[in-house]
């Protein structure tokens, strides 16, 4: 994504003379003091010369030795000029003004910052914890909090017989787990009083909630009057963990965030790091990445289709899509070695070369798959039940997209052409032809149509990639000449220099230059962005993950108001969140 140009950013000084502009690569951040930040954001949003209407992300960084300690970072996007900008400010007195009145999408992001750093937001409507439970006493992302938490509860394994020596080396002391009362307090904090007849809890462990999302509905009869969502039932602390490991070691964690589209997440992450480290990726690796990303996109959309149809009562589709998914998983297993969380990408390329015959298998799949899409469409697209339950439900307008920072298929279903593959082409996306399907109304049915068409487009991309890869047979797949890139296994075993390099990189990490970068990729669930702050060490100082599903889910309570409970299942299915990514 092109960022705002330096000259254009300098012009803002006419209105706000106190801003400082920092630049790393093409990323431009404006720094301003706290009392002016809201005016600046408002100006950026409303001025026709800039019109940064779309909210992308908000996060905080902790600098314990600095006073004030916390820095807030806003990232905005201008759909008109197709450019990004970052705004930074220091949180004096550990508090910041809320911007929920400018962008509704900031509500959860601010809650998260409160949960993780303990920063107060003046004027936030209900500042409660986002992921942890209400009575949790710590703020985990602060630098002085240990990553394994405070182990103060005696919680031994029940599998060990009483009084015996433990069969393995483990710590019987554990971090505190909440009681059911704590969870009740959490729920009460979210929905302080019921306004309608009855409060219904849906989830967190319910087959229809796609993981562990916890919904609270305030019901009048069957109609939802009010809705709240509690997240954090899969909050594993990936952001905290990654502050303690090298850049390469973060890659497996990106798999486990959005586990349905692991390769896309990998690619988004390695692209961000490569931008930070200035690594040029070999041609062949770029094409392999693009091909696998699109395969994974089909895979992910198939899972969505299967479970979505299953939620609506069509079990057949579930079995059909999983039949196809197995084929794709086999292809990925053949190439990467693992079915689901493949960790196939490396900084500077891919882990292994394509095995022999991989392209033939993919070719066969491309030939076979269109008939399968047709099969699904024959069953669903004009199915009367399908139409009745999907059409007109959950209409998202264009303003909502900008307001809530909605990305991915959900944005495109509402007719907003926001696709990182087109706006900021990484890898080989600038060399392939494809179309971006757009919806017209923005309801669940549109999102269904868009995803179906996207699968076709992905096939087109894969076709072009296979053709290109057949020409690039003997090229390099890993830029091992670069000092930051791990050598291949073969090189490590056969040359002493490569071995030393391997050792250094694995032990001390990639000594990235000081700087900060925000870069994103197009996940099947929306824009997956990585904001990396590097302090010149072998590990990231702060790694913020901007999750598409997190922001997309935020509009759910708005859309479900006035609809019935049965619609909640459909709406949730069509927004398609993955809890691993929303909670991280």
């Amino acid at each position: 994504m092109p960022w705002i140009k330096r000259e254009k950013a300098e012009k803002i000084k006419e209105w706000f003379p106190s801003i400082k502009i920092t630049q790393y690569k093409d990323n431009i951040f404006l720094e301003i003091e706290k009392k002016e930040v809201k005016n600046l954001l408002k100006f950026l949003k409303e001025s026709p010369d800039y019109s940064f209407k779309m909210f992308i992300d908000f996060t905080c960084v902790d600098y314990p030795l600095h006073n004030p300690r916390f820095q807030g970072v806003y990232i905005l996007y201008s759909p008109e000029f197709k450019e990004r900008i970052g705004v930074k400010t220091w949180a004096t007195d550990d508090s910041l003004p809320t911007i929920t009145d400018l962008w509704k999408g900031a509500k959860w992001a601010e809650r998260e910052a409160y949960d993780m750093f303990g920063i107060k937001f003046e004027g936030h409507e209900n500042l409660v914890r986002m992921f942890m439970w209400e009575t949790y006493p710590y703020f985990p992302l602060r630098k002085d909090f240990p990553k394994e938490g405070i182990k103060d509860t005696y919680l031994p394994s029940l599998n060990e017989p009483e009084g015996s020596y433990p069969s393995h080396d483990y710590d019987p002391y554990h971090t505190a787990i909440p009681t059911l009362e704590d969870l009740e307090i959490t729920q009460k904090a979210r929905m302080p009083e019921k306004k309608a007849q009855i409060v219904l809890n849906w989830g967190p462990l319910h087959p229809g909630t796609h993981g562990t999302i916890w919904f609270i509905f305030d019901l009048e009869g069957e109609t939802v009057k009010n809705c709240e969502i509690i997240l954090g039932q899969l909050h594993r602390g990936i952001e905290k963990l990654s502050e303690d490991i090298t850049y390469t070691q973060v890659i497996p964690y990106t798999d486990r965030m959005d586990y349905i589209s692991a390769i896309c997440s990998n690619v988004a992450y390695v692209n961000a790091v490569e931008k930070l480290l200035d690594i040029e990726v070999p041609e062949k690796a770029k094409w392999i990445r693009t091909m696998l990303c699109e395969l994974q996109r089909i895979n992910s959309h198939l899972l969505w289709l299967g479970t979505f149809a299953l939620d609506l009562g069509a079990l057949t589709i579930f079995l059909y899509t999983f039949r196809e998914r197995e084929k794709i998983m086999d292809i990925i297993e053949g190439i990467a070695g693992i079915r689901l969380n493949s960790t196939y990408m490396r900084i500077g390329g891919v882990r292994m070369d394509l095995p022999e015959g991989a392209l033939d298998v993919i070719n066969h799949f491309i030939k076979d798959f269109p008939s399968k899409i047709k099969e699904y469409e024959d069953i669903l697209t004009k199915n009367r039940i399908w139409l009745k339950r999907n059409i007109g439900l959950g209409i998202i307008k264009e303003e909502d997209v900008y307001d809530y920072g909605i990305t991915g298929v959900v944005a495109r279903g509402s007719g907003v052409p926001y696709d990182i593959r087109m706006l900021d082409p990484t890898d080989a996306y600038d060399k392939v032809d494809f179309e971006i399907p757009l919806g017209t109304v923005g309801d669940c049915y549109d999102r269904y149509l868009v995803r179906m068409e996207e699968m076709r487009q992905s096939l087109e991309i894969i076709k072009q990639c296979v053709k290109k890869l057949q020409e690039l047979k003997d090229d390099k797949y890993l830029a091992t000449d670069n000092p930051y890139v791990l050598p291949t296994l073969e090189e490590t075993f056969n040359s002493i220099e490569a071995m030393v390099k391997d050792f250094n990189l694995r032990i001390y990490g990639e000594q990235a230059p000081e700087g900060e970068i925000y870069s994103s990729g197009e996940n099947p669930r929306g824009e997956l962005g990585f904001y990396i702050v590097s302090k010149g060490e072998g590990k990231p100082y702060r790694l913020r993950i901007r999750s598409g599903a997190f922001y997309n889910l935020q509009i759910f309570p708005e859309l479900i108001k006035g609809r019935t409970v049965a619609d909640a299942v459909v709406l949730l299915g069509s927004l398609d969140p993955v809890v691993g990514e929303t909670d991280r």
Binding site: F131, Y165, T175, P178, P204, L205, K240, I260, L319, N341
Partner: protein, 173 residues
């Protein structure tokens, strides 16, 4: 079980044996998917591996099931809920821990993750992997069936012998 007189259709058995036979051949798990492992659990239930042919039918309610397959990361916040679900299951009940996360925290040694579900509920079978393949989960289920059978026959499934240190020798410098 003993069949008497070749083909004339009389089977002698005990009530215990019939119960055990029935239990191990119709294991109904609660379908509780928590994270990545749940996807592989779904694959085990879907078209290719098709657990239905083994009498394994995923149920939505803990009251109808006898196996709890914990597939995915259990974070501290979910731990009390998981315990609640386990308590709601009727006896006899078994627990399969699928994947590294539920077995011991997996790749997440963090402030928010439960380091092994055996701290809140007893586990019968551990299936290693991250995620375990569907084949591995099937192996786990077979292992559980063996365990149920062994229990009925009065033997426990052989366990890894635990060696305990005898006495400690204080070393004086």
């Amino acid at each position: 079980m003993a069949i008497i007189g070749g083909n004339n259709g009389i089977i002698l058995t005990t009530v215990e044996e019939v119960l055990s036979w029935g239990r191990r051949n119709s294991l109904w798990p609660v379908s509780i998917g928590l994270a990545c492992c749940a996807i592989e659990m779904m694959h085990t239930a879907a078209s290719r591996f098709d657990t239905d042919r083994m009498g394994i039918i995923f149920r939505g309610s803990p009251r109808q099931s006898d196996v709890l397959i914990v597939a995915g990361t259990v974070v501290n916040k979910v731990a009390p809920m998981l315990k609640l679900i386990y308590d709601q299951m009727p006896d006899p009940k078994w627990v399969i821990s699928m994947g590294g996360c539920s077995s011991g925290g997996g790749p997440f040694p963090t402030y928010s993750t439960l380091q092994g579900i055996d701290r809140i509920i007893p586990v019968d079978v551990y299936v290693p992997g991250c995620p375990p393949t569907p084949q591995a989960l099937l192996w786990g289920i077979h292992q559980l069936q063996k365990k149920i059978k062994a229990k009925q026959e009065g033997k426990e499934l052989k366990e890894i012998p635990v060696r305990t240190p005898k006495a400690s020798f204080p070393v004086k410098g």
